[in-house]
């Protein structure tokens, strides 16, 4: 036969979405927050982000080249990790420390476990935690926006939340306070998060249950829920880090449990612990239990009778 026809199993068409497009939308959704951080912290923020993105992409490329694997940098997942890592660092972070963070995120957490889809925890979160542990002094030196010239020790709003009044809400929303890049302008993060929900990249379930739980527990603990929601890395964590596909549950039931768990751990650390910030540890801890959530929150299948619990009639 002159012209051979292709024979393969159905389906013969696929959807328009691809991993690359999804990651691209996440990058786009982070742009408002990046712009806000540049306005608040100046060019340092932009340079730091460029450093982490470039080093994440480089480590991914270099590791795969070294291991003789196909280089997946076109899927943009390393760019997302780079951006998120930068958003978890203060603008004054020395470059070489940021590069160490990128190495931990991409090589140790992502590639050593098998690459995209096989990491047990969010790479950027672990990168941030490792830096916070290793370079604690640099990680908590938040440049204060009004100063703008050099790093100045300034507490995040969470550390001084007792002194904040309701007139400070606007400051929190606009991000004119000390902190890491991504935890300043809540409005910009929110805009990006809404974009991700509208384009169906993420389901609203995790952010809504996470933020909801924090709000309820804050009220119960007699703290100002608005301050709790708008400060620290909560917004960034809820919309961009906790919703990472690889390390969050897939079913609606699982997402609910995950979101509530995140809220409880975050509040426990914030209210009961000695640390100001609980978001990154909450996400890491919940990442670790995702496999258990997954197997216990499977969907009911059509026409399959539910197995009765032992002892039930």
């Amino acid at each position: 036969m002159a012209n051979k026809l292709i024979v393969n199993a159905a389906p013969h068409i696929t959807g328009a979405d691809s991993t690359q497009k999804i990651m691209g939308r996440v990058c786009l959704a982070l742009v408002p927050a990046l712009a806000a951080s540049v306005i608040v912290f100046g060019a340092d923020a932009l340079i730091l982000t460029a450093v982490t993105v470039a080093s994440c992409v480089f480590f991914e490329w270099a590791y795969c080249k070294l291991m003789g694997r196909e280089v997946p940098i076109a899927d943009l997942s390393a760019v997302v990790t780079g951006m998120l890592l930068a958003f978890n660092l203060p603008a004054s972070m020395p470059w070489w420390m940021a590069i160490v963070g990128a190495f931990i995120s991409i090589v140790i957490i992502k590639q050593l476990f098998g690459g995209l889809g096989y990491n047990f925890a969010n790479p950027a979160i672990v990168g941030r935690i490792a830096l916070a542990m290793g370079f604690a002094s640099r990680m908590t030196v938040y440049p204060f926006p009004d100063n703008g010239i050099d790093a100045l020790a300034s507490a995040t709003p969470l550390a001084v939340s007792g002194q904040l009044g309701s007139s400070e809400y606007v400051t929190l929303l606009l991000g004119q306070h000390g902190g890491v890049l991504g935890e300043t302008c809540a409005l910009a993060i929110l805009a990006g998060g809404i974009y991700l929900i509208a384009t169906k990249v993420i389901s609203p379930l995790i952010p809504v249950t996470y933020l909801g739980t924090v709000a309820v527990l804050s009220l119960a603990a007699g703290r100002d829920p608005v301050v709790q929601l708008l400060s620290g890395g909560l917004m960034l964590g809820a919309f961009f880090m906790a919703t990472d596909y690889v390390t969050s549950p897939t079913t609606n039931k699982g997402k609910l449990i995950f979101g509530v768990g995140l809220g409880v751990i975050t509040c426990a650390i914030r209210f009961l612990g000695t640390m100001n910030e609980g978001v990154s540890f909450a996400i890491l801890l919940m990442n670790l239990v995702v496999p258990y959530i997954e197997i216990n929150t499977r969907q009911d299948k059509l026409g399959i009778a539910k197995k009765k619990k032992e002892g039930a009639k």
Partner: protein, 435 residues
């Protein structure tokens, strides 16, 4: 909300591509030969009832049903039997086939007359003699379907007019062109099986069909507009959306008091009761990016695909893939000499560019497969269990419930061939762990 937590079952927003929906059905002239496979239905293949050199007429039985779950095959032309041969079906099965050369006269078999139907038994016999199989694609002998064991418990007849596959518009044309036959068929089934209620389910992208059926509907017959979500026309999904009932697994629609018929099948019942002419022609949508003149064609069953394509102006570019059926569940054919079968509702031809499937990349656990699955299965877990050879987990995940609708593969952003892998997983389950 409870459904939301129970099972997302979002389905997929597949492209419609229904550009032939306004094209009236045209009759294709006689082909140079017809090739009638003896395996055009689910169940035992038919046995050839003619030999080389025999004279046959339009409507003559050329293949006798090979058992209860089987079906007669009739000639759609008058002419001479050229021989008995074998053909390889798209699923790889080798089937006996009768080749007939038309004489051009289209003389009708003298035995053809409207059947005398007075009660359930004579109605079932008539449907059996008509050679009708489920024309939506499954090809299940209709006479068997209309003989449920628990007949007295059946209270709803569901007519499947969802036509959720992209490109295909033959059911839409059936609604518009065969309205009367559809209603006659529905009334006959309701009367003889004593079913009080009928629901015609049609996807919202066929407003003309919905309007026409609403104006033709008789008491007890309801037309339900369904959301355009693939796979709306899958039997279990359709039943759930039309009646709210869940078909148990393993089980049949009759277990929840439902009989489902495709609209083209029920229209044929109506037509057969009036004419007595068995199933020898089929309305097909011929489309695809390289088909010069996309058409809805009434074609004689057994016509080689090549001649059907020639009738539609041929190809504008080299074909890369030719399908029986839609792009979501259709089967590839290996060459254009393959004949049209009873259960075909479309022949689609695609360019080499469209035929090529994208490269699969790592699973990113986005969960789209899980949330899209109309049955609530978790494709990524099933495929992982298959790769691990874990049959126990496959049983726990109910992999055998999968109906291969392809929704998981379609929505996967990593372009992983999930549906074909699950098909392999089902085979592994049956074989007790061997791949």
């Amino acid at each position: 909300m409870s459904k939301f937590l129970k099972r997302a079952a979002q389905g997929a927003g597949v492209p419609h591509e229904k550009r032939t929906s306004d094209l009236e059905t045209v009759k294709m002239p006689l082909p140079s030969k017809i090739v009638l496979s003896m395996g055009q239905h689910i169940g035992a293949p038919a046995a050839p009832a003619v030999a080389k050199g025999d004279q046959v007429y339009v409507g003559t039985v050329v293949g006798k049903a090979g058992g209860f779950v089987s079906c007669d095959i009739h000639s759609g032309v008058s002419g001479t039997v050229d021989g008995i041969t074998t053909i390889t079906a798209p699923n790889g099965a080798v089937q006996t086939a009768v080749v007939i050369i038309p004489d051009g006269k289209q003389t009708v078999d003298p035995a053809i007359a409207p059947p005398a139907v007075t009660d359930l038994k004579s109605f079932q016999d008539a449907v059996r003699a008509s050679g009708l199989v489920g024309l939506g694609g499954a090809g299940f002998p209709t006479a068997v379907k209309l003989s449920p064991k628990n007949l007295e418990e059946i209270d709803v007849l569901v007519i499947n007019g969802a036509e959720c596959e992209p490109y295909i518009t033959s059911d839409n044309r059936c609604f518009l062109e065969d309205t009367k036959f559809i209603m006659d068929g529905i009334q006959a089934v309701m009367k003889y099986l004593e079913i009080p209620k009928c629901i015609i389910g049609i996807e919202g992208n066929k407003p003309a069909a919905i309007a026409k059926m609403r104006s033709a509907a008789t008491p007890g017959v309801e037309v339900k507009e369904l959301p355009c979500r693939y796979p709306q026309g899958a039997e279990k999904v359709l039943i759930e959306n039309c009646t709210g009932r869940e078909v148990p697994f393993p089980g049949l629609p009759s277990d929840v008091g439902v009989v489902v018929m495709n609209v083209t099948s029920v229209a044929f019942v109506g037509k057969y009761l009036a004419t007595g002419m068995p199933l020898t022609t089929k309305r097909l949508t011929v489309d695809g990016d390289i088909v010069k003149e996309p058409k809805n064609v009434e074609v004689i069953i057994g016509t080689p695909v090549q001649e059907l394509m020639d009738f539609c102006g041929g190809f504008t570019d080299e074909p890369g893939k030719v399908l029986y059926g839609g792009p979501m569940m259709g089967n590839c054919i290996a060459d254009l000499s393959q004949p049209i079968m009873k259960n075909n509702n479309a022949v689609l031809a695609f360019s080499k560019k469209m035929a090529q499937m994208p490269k699969a990349t790592n699973c990113i656990h986005c969960g789209r497969c899980t949330n899209a699955c109309p049955l609530g299965l978790s494709a990524k877990e099933i495929v992982q269990a298959y790769n691990d050879g874990d049959v126990e987990l496959l049983i726990e995940l109910n992999a055998d419930l999968c109906m291969s609708c392809g929704t998981c593969s379609f929505v996967c952003p990593a372009k992983r061939p999930l549906a074909p892998s699950i098909a392999l997983a089902k085979i592994m389950m049956k074989n007790g762990g061997k791949k």
